[in-house]
Symmetry: D3
Amino acid sequence: MDKFSYLLPANAAGFKDRYVTKVTECISHYSTGIRGEIGLIGLPFSKSSISHSQAGEAPNTIRDCLSNITTYSGEWKMDFKDKMIVDFGNVAIHPINTEESLSRIYTSIKEIIDSKSCERYIMLGGDHGVSFPSIRAFQEKFGTIGVLQWDAHHDVRNLKDGGRTNGTPFRSLLEGRFVNGEHLVQIGIRDFSNSQEYHGYTKEKGITVYNMADVEQEGIVPLVKQEVERLSKEVDFIYLSVDMDVVDQAFAPGCPAIGPGGVTSRELLGSVAEAAKHKKVKALDIVEIDPSRDFRDMTSRLAAHVMLRFMYIK
Amino acid sequence: MDKFSYLLPANAAGFKDRYVTKVTECISHYSTGIRGEIGLIGLPFSKSSISHSQAGEAPNTIRDCLSNITTYSGEWKMDFKDKMIVDFGNVAIHPINTEESLSRIYTSIKEIIDSKSCERYIMLGGDHGVSFPSIRAFQEKFGTIGVLQWDAHHDVRNLKDGGRTNGTPFRSLLEGRFVNGEHLVQIGIRDFSNSQEYHGYTKEKGITVYNMADVEQEGIVPLVKQEVERLSKEVDFIYLSVDMDVVDQAFAPGCPAIGPGGVTSRELLGSVAEAAKHKKVKALDIVEIDPSRDFRDMTSRLAAHVMLRFMYIK
Amino acid sequence: MDKFSYLLPANAAGFKDRYVTKVTECISHYSTGIRGEIGLIGLPFSKSSISHSQAGEAPNTIRDCLSNITTYSGEWKMDFKDKMIVDFGNVAIHPINTEESLSRIYTSIKEIIDSKSCERYIMLGGDHGVSFPSIRAFQEKFGTIGVLQWDAHHDVRNLKDGGRTNGTPFRSLLEGRFVNGEHLVQIGIRDFSNSQEYHGYTKEKGITVYNMADVEQEGIVPLVKQEVERLSKEVDFIYLSVDMDVVDQAFAPGCPAIGPGGVTSRELLGSVAEAAKHKKVKALDIVEIDPSRDFRDMTSRLAAHVMLRFMYIK
Amino acid sequence: MDKFSYLLPANAAGFKDRYVTKVTECISHYSTGIRGEIGLIGLPFSKSSISHSQAGEAPNTIRDCLSNITTYSGEWKMDFKDKMIVDFGNVAIHPINTEESLSRIYTSIKEIIDSKSCERYIMLGGDHGVSFPSIRAFQEKFGTIGVLQWDAHHDVRNLKDGGRTNGTPFRSLLEGRFVNGEHLVQIGIRDFSNSQEYHGYTKEKGITVYNMADVEQEGIVPLVKQEVERLSKEVDFIYLSVDMDVVDQAFAPGCPAIGPGGVTSRELLGSVAEAAKHKKVKALDIVEIDPSRDFRDMTSRLAAHVMLRFMYIK
Amino acid sequence: MDKFSYLLPANAAGFKDRYVTKVTECISHYSTGIRGEIGLIGLPFSKSSISHSQAGEAPNTIRDCLSNITTYSGEWKMDFKDKMIVDFGNVAIHPINTEESLSRIYTSIKEIIDSKSCERYIMLGGDHGVSFPSIRAFQEKFGTIGVLQWDAHHDVRNLKDGGRTNGTPFRSLLEGRFVNGEHLVQIGIRDFSNSQEYHGYTKEKGITVYNMADVEQEGIVPLVKQEVERLSKEVDFIYLSVDMDVVDQAFAPGCPAIGPGGVTSRELLGSVAEAAKHKKVKALDIVEIDPSRDFRDMTSRLAAHVMLRFMYIK
Amino acid sequence: MDKFSYLLPANAAGFKDRYVTKVTECISHYSTGIRGEIGLIGLPFSKSSISHSQAGEAPNTIRDCLSNITTYSGEWKMDFKDKMIVDFGNVAIHPINTEESLSRIYTSIKEIIDSKSCERYIMLGGDHGVSFPSIRAFQEKFGTIGVLQWDAHHDVRNLKDGGRTNGTPFRSLLEGRFVNGEHLVQIGIRDFSNSQEYHGYTKEKGITVYNMADVEQEGIVPLVKQEVERLSKEVDFIYLSVDMDVVDQAFAPGCPAIGPGGVTSRELLGSVAEAAKHKKVKALDIVEIDPSRDFRDMTSRLAAHVMLRFMYIK
Ligand SMILES: [Ca+2]
Ligand SMILES: [Ca+2]
Ligand SMILES: [Ca+2]
Ligand SMILES: [Ca+2]
Ligand SMILES: [Ca+2]
Ligand SMILES: [Ca+2]
Ligand SMILES: [Ca+2]
Ligand SMILES: [Ca+2]
Ligand SMILES: [Ca+2]
Ligand SMILES: [Ca+2]
Ligand SMILES: [Ca+2]
Ligand SMILES: [Ca+2]
């Protein structure tokens, strides 16, 4: 708007300090031929949630939080302002047909991978139902896949009682043979939040489960480090799936299924950063944030920092 | 994003009905050579408020409300989807220097008028302090100006006790001879919300004042009709300034200075629509909404409907 | 709990005045052979909503409001404590399959009618999507049906763009020939909330539409009276469908699609009471309340009073 | 604080316009020998409430609202800044012993009347339980007393089921012969909020009852005018008791027992102003506001305006 | 409801996974002859609170939280779905007479113990005032009693200044010789939350006090273990009294007297689980949660997990 | 109010326990000749904030929190009720002129120091902009000054882009040579919250910076102890500046710039207590709390406890 002295686009930040770069400034919308290090995709889908959820609003809320976060790490003395992030926008969700929506997510992620424009990908959910089509798409494109799942819950419910809800993504992935049980690691599983049957199912399928007692005793960072190393020898590609309800309700008050006794913010950030260091780790999803129930976007802001620990590696 | 089957830009509405046009779809960002019927300018300025106010957030909140409002009037059986609205964005406000900010508003509005791209203008405040530079700019461009002010308050405070706050815009306009007292009409002035001195000042300057008792007895629509007719004979240009606190707290709970005994939503919408019919009415500002204190954006949504009654005339 | 001196069931009201009867005390859960004047059915379904909605929580919230409302009308000097209300509970909604859920609603209402236990029925939604299976079931059981719809919206969207959402129930009813356009009356339709195409559709189908200007000019009570009389000559059965967003946002702040310029609480209560007087009026649904967004259950409490005006007739 | 250039007491308003007087500036704390027109007493008592209530916080919240209200009426062109208000503070309530608290209220009001420092009195509750000791004290000091009660409820519950709760003050006054049934007028009684037994009791005792249908048909102002005139011939002293739940929930969202279909703000303010004109009207209580459940102190602000209509008479 | 295909009772959970058992499913309402391991009693009493409190609503809120918690511990690999919980309901509280209410609590607990239907008991408060009649009843039935009190406060205020408030239960128990000072252990006492006099009183009476500095240095679990062992040699029966304000405000934001510097959720859960292991530990009360001031029932949910750690022992 | 048996001043606490002293009871308003140990000054200034902030309301909110905090430390077995606190009130802030406001703060603090009435001073902000005039005033009165700054941010932004905002106080102090870079210590600086340029600036100026990784590794208490010792040898006077956003968002949810990964409440309280032990530490400011965005005044309450750790030293 060159002919106007002071006009800014609506929604632009009102104040700009010339010496500060915000993460938002490093994001470009996708256009043909663009190349970036990180691809960002919003999956505003929450109609598969068993309980009411507006998790579908989270992709935009998390993006908004990036406008208050800078690109500089004082601890590492590194500025990441040159890392380009390509935003592919949000997958258009069908208002009522969940199978159609899951299919659109699957197709979109495959098309995005096919664009070969980025090296790593971040999927912003949505409820945990999005991980089934997302992980499936990556598996089909990249080969054997290992998955680290931060979660209070196993998410291996039977499909008969309610169809493909947000309680079933890993069941669907295992049954469809997109992921092998030995290549799935669940971290932060909480007592009195799951059932004996489903715990039994994880054992039967060879899933590696670390509950909160394990996390407290062994430390979440060493535990993640060891599993990433193990997986890296067995798979072609590692995918991180972060269900924010792994975090204690005091630190992540905006998840649909909040509860006490979970991991702290620091434990989540430290462990994701540890995993992100490995070259085979190439995709991340963040799910189960309902901004309408959060307090001052605390949970979305924490999610934005999870993104940073994945994107900005030492 | 042609190569992707289902991707929408972040923040785009997820669902589109092919037979429904939302007001937002009729808005174009300014670009050189563009022509439209309505020019829209955001004035995100609220640091001149005597009490704490985040009215500076209202321009974007009101814009957001337009995405849920359609262009069709069933009462008039008219669709306004062909009326183009040009959005000039927001004036960049200085973080702490209010005189500088007032000056930027003044300059920006002059530059926008100079672009000759629109026929009518809507300024979205901000606090009422924005009306001083805005009305001054219009006066200097268009000649003698008449002003209809919907407000619970006279806004003619002395300038010594606090400088050019949001309690002073009409004092500044009168003292600067940008508006003549005979050409200022105040509607909806409320008891126990003003002082004897300032009421005296309005009398002395020849301002026409209608308090709530007048509104109840005469009806707000006939009263506005009569004043627009009178003004139209005396001035070159009529400017509407709507301080949303003219409305009762039950209908506009998000104003900084809410109170009981004000006009209803219908009275506000009806009277603005009546004024907007006259050809000399060419500018509107809407001020004093603090979205951070509103309930479900009720007050911003009402403001969006005020915009419509000004834009879409029978 | 005869052996305990002071124990009450959990969730029972702590205080009971022997001379006051609350509506809740007149409600019995369905059991075989029971007879009552009013049948109450909850339809906790809101996954067909275009925008996020927790309207599925409303049936229980409205029921809770009945525990603070008494059975006595001082205006009529009548006590209705002997009118028995049979609560059939809530239809079990499928977590993700909306067609399945609509089918369960349809089947349940037919089964309830078949039980022949009640004279009139109240369906508590849920979003407006529930009216399609509900009205269809009544039509199939009782013959030609007339519908009075209180609503800001026509709800005749096309079915292609999103399937059978809460914007489509009357389209589905008309296309399926369950309701004849001449037998559908829409009251309180609001400007800038609908589209020209759909307004055209209502004309084409012969639907009678009263917009807010009509309501203001003719008065909602006479208008309803006249239409009930007309319909009663043409149909076997009259069904009232109350979308609470017909009410102004100041009086019903908990609807998903709130807006200014709607009817007042008194206009809603008075007009439902007027309609309920007619013997052919035998069913009522109340929809589009999202308790999670309401203020102190205002909208559910108003809905509970709508129930009363339907149940308790002079 | 003469030696400091800019210091103000903590809690003082930060900004003062030399030409504006706020009601707060006209309030003096009681000291021996002081004389004023209005005496103000806080009764922060709500442990007699049947349902949970923090109405005990209202006296201070209402006082706070006076700091944003001026002394000038533009409608009457009168400034009331010379009317002195004497604030006697709040009665110390016993933490758990309600009979002791009622007794302290009774004693305090008698002592205040004995101080002969004021002409009229305003009691700020608290729940409606405060009216029993308050009215009793006035009766014992001033002779035969007439009471106008704005209320959705009769408040004549039996004393056996829960003792002297906020549902019983007028029962206690009648049984104790402090008020004669013929001298009690109830205005705004609402349907489905009372019981047949208690309605019968009001008839038996000769209480005059105007329900909402009466208010709608006759108009609240003429109705109040007529009753004040009648009472003035029969009693020595008239006491106004305003239970804020007489107001519709949209206008007074902070009462414990909110509901739809009540009077509007304007109806309340107009009718209190009408009553206050009469010389025999010398006391006012305002009760049943729970600030913890209000929205932006709307209900307390309305109560402050009720005070003004009582204090500032033409 | 056998004749209906899809109907569920109102308030029933909408979705049931056949392989998951919720704690709620293990609860039966008391009926004659019933036997269970845990007896549950609600004490919805908060009128003894010095400050305003709606703690009386907590018993039902905590019960509601149990519907989202399962019976399975993955850490112990144990499912507790066969432990039967008998719900005796809530004690009917008198609306205004606190001594009467305390007496009803005392009588009810004695009657429940006399029913000999359960092995352990959980009392859900209510404010801390409920512990006086509750502990007294257990002492009179079971002999010498030891009490572990988790609390930020000593709760030994004098009885003259306000009677038997929620600040006095342990004073009442000591003065009445129901508990011996040597058998009372206070854990988590916080600085700047008590007074020198009352600290002196605890010393004088021989109460064992662990403040937050002790908790930080020695660890809450070893400290509880050691005291349970000591007490078990000296008493017949151990009672746990958990005032939730022992927890830091970040983890338990819904207590009336929140503050910083308290124990974490994990410290509370771990220490209650440690105590619950001992066979002499047979009763638990949980008090001082005001659901109306909580955020998303965080504090009630934490309380529900405290219940689990007491009920479900390895 | 000797002639009245039960009256308390409005706003007085309703209940007083004779054996408990609240901090509020130890506060006297300034009057000539008064002497105290602690001087308290409110700086209700937040118009220099880059983002919207009502931090100007914090001084009064923090004071209110002191009414629920006692003077007794059980850990130290010390009662501080004899430490007199002198409250100088709040500096009158100009409604719109920030330079004028900064100048008034500067002048007021100098005048207060000149009154020689206190030994230590607590300044309650307001935004961090207040520290520039405050520290400057102390420096000019007391000589070489050392500053410990708890903060997530460096606050050394350039002055050209927005003037003297709350992002610049330490830049202003360094450029004005009021503080020497070697005498400024920043604790708790957070990653992705600052920029490379400004980090470089701190290095260049010789500022000592401890980021969160340092805090985690070395422990905040030893680190503060070591820096206070170092500074005490180089300066005449040590000033503590506590920006509450150094605390994690879970523990201090009311700061304008909240974020995850900060210090805990205990880390803040422990480290301030450690610093306060040194005799040269004589001033404290607490800034960046916006009470309008807090949850139940958690952040102000934590700030009140920071005051206590500074005032009440072993
Ligand atoms: Ca999950
Ligand atoms: Ca989960
Ligand atoms: Ca104004
Ligand atoms: Ca105004
Ligand atoms: Ca509808
Ligand atoms: Ca509608
Ligand atoms: Ca009453
Ligand atoms: Ca009432
Ligand atoms: Ca306690
Ligand atoms: Ca306590
Ligand atoms: Ca800072
Ligand atoms: Ca900071």
